[in-house]
C-alpha cells in the first residue's frame, strides 16, 4: 500500500469528499428540518381588555366638552315637557328617527318595550325604578337589580360580571364593571361576535396540514 499514486488518489478523494461536506454544511443542504412557517400575528383588537361598550354615565364623565354636548338630552328635548310615546299595532314602542341607534330588544318575551319602564318621563337626566325611585345614571346597577335580583346578587359577590385589577385588595385597586358597560340596556343580550383566530397546530408535513384545515366539523 505504499504506492504513492494510490496514496495520492486516496488523499484527493478524501479532499473532494471534505470539500463537498464543507459546501453542504455551509449551505445547509441536509440535516435541517424545513423552516418553521411564519404565522400571521393576531389582531391587537383581540388583546384589548376594554369592555365592549361604554355606559352613558362613563361617556358623560369625559372631560372633552364637545363630546359631552351630543349626550345632553335637553339639546333637543324641551325641559319640563312630558314626553308622549307612540306604539305600533303590535303594541311595540315606536323609536323616533332621532334615536335610530336604539334597538329595543330587552328580554326574549318582548314585554319590556316601554321607555319609561326605566327612564323618567319628566326628567330625562335620571332613571327610575318601577316602584318610583329616582336613580342617577351612575346608579344604573340598582335599576337593573330591581328586576334581575339573583344576577345582581351574583354581581355583588363578583361571580357575575367583569372584574379587573387586583384580586388582593390590599395590594391595589380592584375594579368591577357596571351592568351597562357590557350589556346594552336597550337590548342586553350579548350580540354574536367574530371569534379570534383558531389555533395553527404544529404540522411539518404539508399534506397533513392541508387535510387538517378541512377537518373543521368533526
Amino acid at each position: 500500500m505504499n504506492d504513492p499514486k494510490k496514496i495520492r488518489l486516496a488523499l484527493t478523494t478524501l479532499g473532494v469528499v471534505f470539500a463537498a461536506l464543507v459546501i453542504s454544511f455551509s449551505l445547509d443542504l441536509w440535516g435541517r428540518v424545513e423552516p418553521v412557517r411564519q404565522l400571521p400575528l393576531v389582531d391587537e383588537e383581540f388583546l384589548q381588555p376594554q369592555t365592549w361598550r361604554r355606559s352613558y354615565a362613563d361617556l358623560v364623565k369625559k372631560e372633552d366638552e364637545d363630546e359631552l354636548l351630543a349626550f345632553s338630552c335637553y339639546e333637543c328635548h324641551e325641559e319640563g315637557k312630558k314626553l308622549e310615546l307612540t306604539y305600533d299595532k303590535d303594541n311595540h314602542v315606536v323609536v323616533p328617527d332621532e334615536h335610530e341607534n336604539i334597538v329595543m330588544g330587552h328580554g326574549s318575551h318582548g314585554r319590556n318595550n316601554d321607555c319609561f319602564n326605566c327612564h323618567n318621563s319628566e326628567n330625562l337626566l335620571v332613571l327610575q325604578t318601577r316602584d318610583g325611585h329616582s336613580l342617577k345614571f351612575e346608579e344604573s346597577t340598582q335599576l337593573c337589580g330591581s328586576c334581575h335580583g339573583p344576577t345582581h346578587r351574583d354581581w355583588e359577590h363578583g361571580s357575575h360580571g367583569r372584574t379587573s385589577g387586583y384580586w388582593d385588595r390590599s395590594k391595589g385597586e380592584y375594579h368591577k364593571q357596571d351592568c351597562v358597560n357590557c350589556h346594552n340596556p336597550h337590548s342586553p343580550k350579548f350580540p354574536q361576535r367574530a371569534p379570534a383566530p383558531r389555533p395553527n397546530h404544529l404540522r411539518v408535513n404539508p399534506v397533513a396540514t392541508a387535510h387538517f384545515g378541512e377537518s373543521n366539523t368533526h
Binding site: 496514496i7 495520492r8 488523499l11 484527493t12 478524501l14 479532499g15 471534505f18 470539500a19 461536506l21 464543507v22 454544511f25 455551509s26 428540518v33 418553521v36 412557517r37 411564519q38 404565522l39 400575528l41 393576531v42 383581540f46 388583546l47 384589548q48 381588555p49 369592555t51 365592549w52 351574583d154 359577590h157 363578583g158 361571580s159 357575575h160 360580571g161 367583569r162 372584574t163 379587573s164 385589577g165 387586583y166 384580586w167 388582593d168 390590599s170 395590594k171 391595589g172 364593571q177 357590557c182 350579548f190 354574536q192 361576535r193 367574530a194 371569534p195 379570534a196 383566530p197 383558531r198 389555533p199 395553527n200 397546530h201 404544529l202 377537518s215 373543521n216 366539523t217 368533526h218
Partner: protein, 315 residues
C-alpha cells in the same frame, strides 16, 4: 496527514517539494475547514445554553445571591435577543394563599380572546404557535370531550346549540405531570401552582404524556416572539422567554397573580366568565362561587387529579 510529515524529510527535488507541499496544504486546509464546518452544530449549542446556565443550581437550592446572578443573566440574554430590557423577578408564593380558578360555562361565548391575551402576556412562541388555553366547542346537553372541536372558525360566536369550554392547566392538587418528571424540573408550589424551571427541564416530554388535559406544551422549534410584542414584566417561573427543547404550561400568570393582580385571561374575558382568587379567603369571589353556585364540575375528576380549576353554571 502522512504526506505532510513525509514532505520535508525525503526532499527529492525542489519542484516536487513545492508541488506536494501545495497539494498537501490544500488538502489539509480543506480537511480543517470541513472539520470546523462539521462542528458548526456544536457551536450553535452556545446559543441554547451558556456555561453559566449549564452550571446553575436547581431552583430550590439556589441562594438569594445565586438567584440574583441568574436573574441578571436572564435579563442580559433577553436584552441581547429582543432589544428590550426586561424586569425579571423571582416571585415566591404568598402566605395564606391558595389559588383557585372558576369558569362560568353559561357565560363563555367562545371568542378565544383569553387564548391570545395569554399568548401575549406569557411570551409564548408565535411561530410555531404555543397556546396554553384551548377552547372546546361542545354540543348542548353533553360534556363529552370526544365530541368537542377546538378548530371551530365560524363568522360569529356563540353558535346556536353549542357551548364553549376553555381548557388550560388545571393546577391539580395531585398532579400526574410532577410525578413523572425524572429531574424534578417541575413541582407544585404551596399556593397550588405547578411550575416549571425552564433551565432545569431536559425536554423528555414525560409530563406532556402524563397530563390528562393536554396542558403541557413543548418547544419543538426555537420560539419566536416579535420584539414589539414581548412582555417585559417577567418572572423566573413564569413568562420569561423559553428555549427550544423545554416544556411550558399555564402557571396562572405568576408574574401577575403573585403580585396580587388577576391573570391576563380573566381581565380580557369580555363575558366575565372567568373568576380567580384565593380559596383560603372566605370572602373571595371564588369562595363565594364554590359555596353558593349550584353546579360545578372538575374536568375528568374521575382521574383523581383534583383540579383547582372549577367549571360552574348559572342556573
Amino acid at each position: 496527514m502522512n504526506s505532510q510529515s513525509d514532505a520535508p524529510g525525503k526532499a527529492p527535488a525542489p519542484s516536487m517539494r513545492r508541488r506536494s507541499f501545495l497539494r498537501s496544504s490544500a488538502i489539509f486546509g480543506a480537511g480543517a475547514a470541513a472539520l470546523a464546518a462539521s462542528l458548526k452544530p456544536l457551536m450553535d449549542l452556545e446559543k441554547f445554553t451558556s456555561t453559566e446556565e449549564f452550571l446553575q443550581k436547581h431552583y430550590k437550592e439556589m441562594s438569594p445571591a445565586d438567584m440574583a446572578k441568574v436573574l441578571a443573566r436572564i435579563s442580559r440574554e433577553v436584552e441581547k435577543q429582543y432589544d428590550v430590557r426586561p424586569h425579571v423577578r423571582d416571585l415566591r408564593p404568598m402566605d395564606g394563599v391558595e389559588f383557585v380558578y372558576a369558569l362560568n360555562l353559561t357565560r363563555c361565548i367562545g371568542c378565544r380572546k383569553c387564548v391570545h391575551a395569554c399568548v401575549a402576556e406569557n411570551n409564548q412562541s408565535r411561530s410555531p404557535e404555543i397556546q396554553y388555553i384551548r377552547v372546546l366547542k361542545m354540543p348542548h346537553g353533553s360534556l363529552d370531550i370526544e365530541k368537542s372541536d377546538h378548530n371551530y372558525d365560524p363568522e360569529k360566536v356563540p353558535e346556536k346549540g353549542f357551548f364553549y369550554m376553555p381548557v388550560q392547566c388545571q393546577q391539580c392538587e395531585n398532579p400526574p405531570c410532577v410525578k413523572v418528571c425524572p429531574v424534578n424540573a417541575t413541582w407544585q408550589e404551596k399556593d397550588g401552582i405547578t411550575v416549571i424551571d425552564y433551565d432545569w427541564c431536559i425536554g423528555c416530554r414525560y409530563c406532556m404524556a402524563a397530563c390528562p388535559y393536554g396542558a403541557r406544551h413543548f418547544n419543538f422549534a426555537k420560539p419566536s416572539i416579535p420584539k414589539e410584542r414581548l412582555n417585559p414584566e417577567m418572572a423566573y417561573l413564569g413568562n420569561r422567554p423559553r428555549k427550544i427543547g423545554v416544556m411550558e404550561k399555564c402557571h396562572f400568570c405568576v408574574q401577575r397573580t403573585r403580585t396580587g393582580r388577576y391573570p391576563a385571561c380573566l381581565e380580557v374575558c369580555p363575558a366575565g366568565a372567568r373568576k380567580f382568587g384565593n380559596i383560603l379567603d372566605p370572602e373571595s369571589e371564588v369562595s363565594k362561587i364554590l359555596s353558593t353556585k349550584r353546579v360545578f364540575i372538575q374536568l375528568k375528576e374521575e382521574l383523581g387529579t383534583s383540579p383547582r380549576f372549577f367549571y360552574y353554571f348559572d342556573v
